[in-house]
Subunit: 113 residues, 4 copies
Amino acid sequence: MSTENSSDLAARQRRLAEFAAARDWGRYHNPKNLAAALSVEAGELVEIFQWLTPEQSAAVMERPDQAARVRDEVADVLAYLLQFCEVLGVDALGALDAKIERNEKRFPVPEEP
Amino acid sequence: MSTENSSDLAARQRRLAEFAAARDWGRYHNPKNLAAALSVEAGELVEIFQWLTPEQSAAVMERPDQAARVRDEVADVLAYLLQFCEVLGVDALGALDAKIERNEKRFPVPEEP
Amino acid sequence: MSTENSSDLAARQRRLAEFAAARDWGRYHNPKNLAAALSVEAGELVEIFQWLTPEQSAAVMERPDQAARVRDEVADVLAYLLQFCEVLGVDALGALDAKIERNEKRFPVPEEP
Amino acid sequence: MSTENSSDLAARQRRLAEFAAARDWGRYHNPKNLAAALSVEAGELVEIFQWLTPEQSAAVMERPDQAARVRDEVADVLAYLLQFCEVLGVDALGALDAKIERNEKRFPVPEEP
C-alpha cells in the first residue's frame, strides 16, 4: 500500500509484513493493538532514562549493556510503527515530509538582529 | 554518526537535525527528553483508538479527519525517533535489521503438518 | 467488588461507576480500553514536563495554568485507574499495601556505619 | 502538603514518602522523573492487554499469573501517582472530585424519551 516502494524503509516494512504473515499474526495486528504495542515499547525506551539526569542520559551509549537496550527499544518502536503503517496503508515518510514542511512554516527561523 | 548515509531515512534525520539546530533547540533535545516526547506522541496515537473496537480501528482511514490525525501522529513518532537516534548516534535501520534477524530465529515459521 | 468499602477511594470508585452506568458507557469500559486510556492520560502528564529541566519541573505549580493542567491530568489518571479496578474487581489499596511490604523487604534501609 | 490527612490514600502517600526518604531517593523523585515512571508503569499495564480481544481482556483475572501481574502494575501506577502528588503538593482526591463535578455538567445524563 505504500508509495515509497524503492526506499530502505519500505523494504523493512515489507519484510516485517512477510514475517507476520508467515506466522499467521495478522489476526493480532489490527491498528488498535499495534498502536498499543508501539506505546508499550516507547515506555520501555523511557524506562532506560527515567532516573537519569539529562547529563547522564547523554552518556547512555558509553555503557554496552545500556547501549544494547537502547538499540533494542529503537528497533521495537520502529518495527511496530512500520507494521501499524502497513495495516492502515499510511506512507510514513510522506507523512513525515508533510509534517516537516508544516513545521518549517509554523516555526520560522529567527532572523539575525 | 549514522552509517546509512544514502538512505531515505537518513536524509530525514539530517533534515530534522538541521531544523532543530537552526532554532537552537539542541539544549532541549537530550535523549531523556526526546524519549519522553516520543512516548507522548505514541500516547496520542493510542488515543485515536482507545474507545474503538478492533473492527472500527481497522476502518479509521475512511474518515478524513481521523486519517489526517493518524498521519500526523505517525509523523511525530517517526520525527522524535529519528531525533533521538541522531543525538545518541543510533543507526535505526541497523538496529531494526538486527532485531528482525534475532526474531526470525526466535520465532521459527511453523512447518506444514 | 472492592473490599475497602468504607474508604475515601472506594467512595470515588463507586461514584465513577455510577457516572459511567448512567451514561451507558459500560460497553466502552473493558479493561483493555481503560488501561489504554490510563496510559494516554499518563502521557499527557509527561507532556507537561517533557522539555523542562528537573529544576523547572519542581516549580511547575507556581504557574496557575500549569498547576491546573497538572491537577487535571492527576484526576484523569486516578479516574481511569479506579474504573479499571472496578471492572476487574481489583482492590487498589490492597495491591498497593502488598507492594509496599514487598518493597520494604526488597530494598532494606541502609544501616548507619 | 495534602489536605486529606485522615484519608486512606493520604496514609499511603505518607508511607511512600517515608519509604523514599529512608532510602535517600528524594534526589531521583522530581516531578519530571515521577511522571515518566508513572507512564512507564501504565505502559506495563497496557502490555498485559495488548494482543487480547476485548472479551479476553475482561477475563484476565481468571488466570492467577495474569491477575498477579495486573495487581502489581496497579500498585506501581498508584504508588508513582501518590509520590508525584507528594512532591508537588497536589491533593489527588480533591483534583478527582473537582473533575467528576465538571464532568457531571459536561456530560449530562440523557433524559428518558
